[in-house]
């Protein structure tokens, strides 16, 4: 839980799974817009390094808060640290997630449980704690990372897709429950995005999938982060309970 530079009146966001990929891009986007950023990663080293790099690059206060999203006690610890440091939370980006792929007959029970623990339960645990901190100010925005697999299904990734569908459902329910307290909850559903998760695809598999995208290319993590930042901002003040695709029009 290493602090860098001093807090002030600027808005505060927590980004989970922020050491790389879409989470890192989100943390960078918020920092570039002047937000103070709490950086969550599963390891102390990963969180601390990202927090230090972002503080150095953007000159904003950052805080490293390590902890596994699937561990409710670790999640509570993140919010205690944020409360101690900033006394507020304006936005949460629920990005932490792990992949669990394989055909239905080849999904190991432990891997499926772990994926649900981190992706679905972790999102729930963070919403629980974040919304309590946001309620004190009667305002806040939560953006969850679902996936096009969660909204359309995905052969060969049933367990992962189900965790992302759970996030979409959780988003709609939380929006109904937290809206009256001034807290908006939305989700983004990325399509094929250039991250480590694409590394497992063979070139011909990737080309085949790109061929189905009307915009004829994979998306970037920064393009997802642009939507996340918008949904967390006051410019999206009347958007609540939505799951919005960032997929180049992927069918």
């Amino acid at each position: 839980m290493a602090p860098t530079s001093e807090p002030d009146d600027r808005p505060v966001v927590l980004v989970t799974g922020a050491s790389r990929g879409i989470g890192r891009a989100c943390a960078e986007a918020f920092a570039a817009s002047g937000w103070a950023v709490a950086i969550n990663s599963t390891t102390e080293a990963g969180a601390a390094q990202a927090a230090a790099e972002i503080a150095d690059k953007h000159g904003v206060p950052t805080l490293a808060v390590a902890g596994d999203a699937g561990d409710d006690k670790a999640v509570d610890g993140c919010y205690r640290a944020i409360f101690q440091r900033f006394k507020r939370l304006d936005a949460l980006v629920n990005n932490a997630g792990i992949l669990c792929d394989g055909p239905l007959g080849m999904i190991a029970p432990d891997k499926a449980r772990r994926a649900f623990s981190v992706n679905a339960l972790g999102t729930l645990f963070h919403i629980q704690a974040a919304s309590r901190l946001m309620r004190r100010r009667g305002a806040g925005a939560i953006v969850n990372l679902s996936s096009i697999m969660g909204t359309r299904g995905a052969a060969g990734a049933s367990a992962y897709a189900a965790t992302k569908a759970a996030i979409a459902s959780l988003t709609r329910s939380a929006a109904l429950e937290l809206g009256p307290h001034g807290i908006r909850v939305n989700a983004v559903a990325p399509g094929l995005i250039e991250t480590d998760m694409l590394a497992g695809l063979k070139p011909e598999q990737l080309a085949e999938r790109v061929a189905t995208i009307p915009l004829a290319r994979v998306g970037t993590a920064a393009e997802v982060a642009d939507l996340v930042l918008f949904l967390a901002s006051d410019r999206a003040r009347y958007i609540n309970g939505q799951v919005i695709g960032v997929d180049g029009g992927m069918p």
Partner: protein
């Protein structure tokens, strides 16, 4: 940090208690107002008044006035 009177105020205001109602006599779901929604209202009031961040399990365990005192003491409240 806030005291017992502030905790009483949290209960009275969260549940719009009638004058003369003793918050110490209440239990979770013992009155209509203390349902799950009212509980979160109470938690928000207590966290604000005592300037603490409770753990999720403590939120679930806070089922009476005395239990609230016990939990808040863990967070350094002088009650």
């Amino acid at each position: 940090m806030a005291g017992v009177a502030d905790l009483e105020t949290c209960f009275v205001e969260s549940f719009a208690l009638e004058p003369g109602t003793d918050p110490r006599s209440l239990r979770f779901q013992s009155i209509l107002e203390w349902d799950s929604v009212g509980h979160m209202q109470l938690i928000a009031a207590i966290e604000t008044a005592f300037d603490v961040m409770l753990e999720t399990q403590e939120v679930l365990d806070m089922s009476s006035f005395d239990k609230a005192i016990e939990i808040l003491r863990r967070h350094g409240a002088d009650l």
